[in-house]
Symmetry: C2
Subunit: 268 residues, 2 copies
DNA sequence: TTAACTGTTCGCATATACGGAATAATACTC
DNA sequence: GAGTATTATTCCGTATATGCGAACAGTTAA
C-alpha cells in the first residue's frame, strides 16, 4: 500500500509535520482562509480546519475575520528562544552601540545546523535609506558567503568545516563568492591569523562587511558579529581600518563580559 | 472508555497539541533530555522521541548533545510574524527614538485575544540599570493594568470593552490597580477625552508610564505606545508634561506615516 | 430567491500514534 | 577495563486518532 521511499519519515508524527507546514505557509503568505490553505497544501478543508482550530487554541494562530493568521504568541516564543542564549542577552546592547558608532548595519550571528542565523541586527544612521531586509523570513545563510560566517568557520577545526561543507557545499551568491574549497581554507587560515574577516560583495553585490568571532573562555567559538554597508560608504581606510577596529573592539568587549559573567555570576 | 468532558477538544488534532506542549515546555525550562521531558509531560520516552525527531526535521528543535532545545528557526519565525504587521515596521524606529529622547523604556503594544502583547520595546539611557524584563517569556498582560492597554481600551466601543472584561476580568496586580468596572470606565472616558493614559504603579510597584493610542485612517485603533520608568525618574513635570508630550508626538508621527504609506503606496 | 462563495460539523474506514520491551550508545564505578 | 548505571533510540501490535467526503450553516452577489 505504502509507496516506497517513505522510510525517511519513519518514526515521526505526520500530523505535527502538517501543522508546521501550515504555520510555515502562513508565515510566507500572510493570512489565508481555510479554502485557500487547503488548496495550497492539497488537503481537504475539514482537515485544514481541524489543524487551524488546534493551533488557535494554543494561540499560535488567530482568526482575523474570514482569514487565519499567525498569532503574536509565536513572536513572544521566538523572543524567548533568543533570550535563552547568554550571548544574545549580552551582545545585544553592544551591537546597538556598534551600529550607532559606525553608522552601519551591525549583526550578531550564530551557527545552527551548519548555517548562519542572524540573532540580532541593528541599523546605523548612514544606512537608513538602504532597506535590504526585504524578505519576510530571513533565511539562514551558508557560512562561506558572510563575514560572520567566515569568522566562525575560521575558528572551527578543519574537520568541523569539512563536515559543514559536505552538507551544504559552496553555493555561489555573487561573482565574488568563494566557491573553491582550497581557496576557502586559505582565506580561513588568513582570517584566523589576523582575527577578523572581510566580506567583499560575496553575499550581495554592492555590500561589504567586516566580521569578528566571539569566543568563550575555553576558546570555543560562540558566534560572530559584523558591521556592514553599501560599497559607497564602506571603502578605503574607513572599511579597512576604522570599521575593522570598531568590530574587533566590540567582539573583545563581549568576550570579556561573557567571561566575567560566567566567572562571577551576578544575581539569582 | 473516554472520560467525559472531552467534548471541548472535539475536532482538534491531539498530536499537534502535544507537540506544542513540548515546544512550550522547552521554552519555559530551557533544554531537556528525552527522559526528563517524558517525565514532565507524563508520556512514554518513545512517544516524546518521535515528537522531537519530527520537530527537529523542521528546525523548530535542535539537538544539543544529550539535550534537546528550541531552534533559532523559531526565532526567525517569530520575527516574520511581527514583520507582517505594518504598524511594527513603521513604529519600530520611532520607538527607538522615543526611548533615546526620553531616556526611558518605550513600548509598542497591540491587542490579541483581549490582552496586550508588547510587539517591540526599546531601552533609554536612564533606565539602563533597571532590568525588569526578567521572565523568560513575556506573557500577554490584561489591558487595564498598563498605559498602552488603557489607551487602547479608551479607543474601543463600550461593547468591545465589556466583552473583553467579561473574558479576562480585572485582576489586581498592585494596590493601585483599577479593579472596579465603573471606575475603569470613568478613567477610560477621561483618557479618550485628553488622548493619553497614565499608569501610576498599577502594573508594577515603583513603575510609571504614559501611553497613547495609535489609530488608522478610519479611526480604528491599531495599538498603542508608551514611555515608562521607575518612579524615581518619572515624577513631577517630567512625568506629566515632558514625557506626555514626547509620547503623543510620537504617536501622531506614526499615525501620519501609516496614513501616508497607505495613501501613497511606495514601491513594489 | 437563487447561486456561489465562505467556514464548520459529522461519521466512518484506515492509516497512524501510543506504550512497553528490546537495543544501542553513552557515562560513571570500582 | 569489565561491569553498571545512565542515557537515547528502534521495533511492533493494537487501540485510536486522523483524514476525507458529504452535509450543514452562514454571507455576499446577482
Amino acid at each position: 500500500m505504502n509507496d516506497a521511499a517513505t522510510r525517511e519519515n519513519a518514526g515521526t508524527r505526520r500530523s505535527v509535520s502538517r501543522a508546521i507546514e501550515i504555520v510555515d505557509t502562513l508565515a510566507r503568505r500572510g493570512s489565508l482562509g481555510v479554502t485557500d490553505l487547503a488548496g495550497v497544501l492539497d488537503l481537504s478543508k475539514s482537515t485544514v480546519h481541524a489543524y487551524l482550530k488546534t493551533l488557535e487554541q494554543s494561540g499560535y494562530v488567530v482568526r482575523d475575520g474570514e482569514k487565519y493568521a499567525l498569532g503574536y504568541e509565536l513572536s513572544l516564543l521566538g523572543e524567548s528562544v533568543r533570550n535563552q542564549s547568554q550571548l544574545y542577552q549580552i551582545a545585544r546592547d553592544e551591537i546597538d552601540d556598534l551600529a550607532a558608532e559606525t553608522g552601519l548595519y551591525a549583526h550578531l550571528t550564530v551557527v545552527e545546523n551548519g548555517r548562519g542565523v542572524n540573532l540580532y541586527q541593528a541599523k546605523g544612521e548612514d544606512v537608513g535609506r538602504y532597506d535590504y531586509q526585504t524578505e519576510k523570513i530571513q533565511r539562514p545563510e551558508p557560512l562561506h558567503v558572510t563575514a560572520t560566517g567566515k569568522a566562525i568557520l575560521a575558528s572551527l577545526s578543519r574537520e568541523r568545516v569539512e563536515s559543514i561543507l559536505d552538507r551544504h557545499g559552496l553555493p555561489q551568491r555573487t561573482p565574488h563568492t568563494i566557491t573553491d574549497r582550497d581557496a576557502l581554507f586559505e582565506e580561513l587560515a588568513a582570517i584566523d591569523e589576523r582575527g577578523y574577516a572581510y566580506n567583499d560583495e560575496e553575499e550581495v553585490e554592492g555590500f561589504r562587511a567586516v566580521g569578528a568571532p566571539i569566543c568563550g573562555q575555553d576558546g570555543e567559538v560562540l558566534g560572530a558579529l559584523s558591521a556592514s554597508g553599501p560599497t559607497s560608504i564602506l571603502r578605503g581606510d574607513f572599511f579597512r581600518e576604522e570599521t575593522r577596529d570598531a568590530v574587533t573592539r566590540t567582539a573583545n568587549l563581549i568576550e570579556v563580559t561573557i567571561t566575567m559573567s560566567n566567572t562571577f555570576p551576578s544575581n539569582s
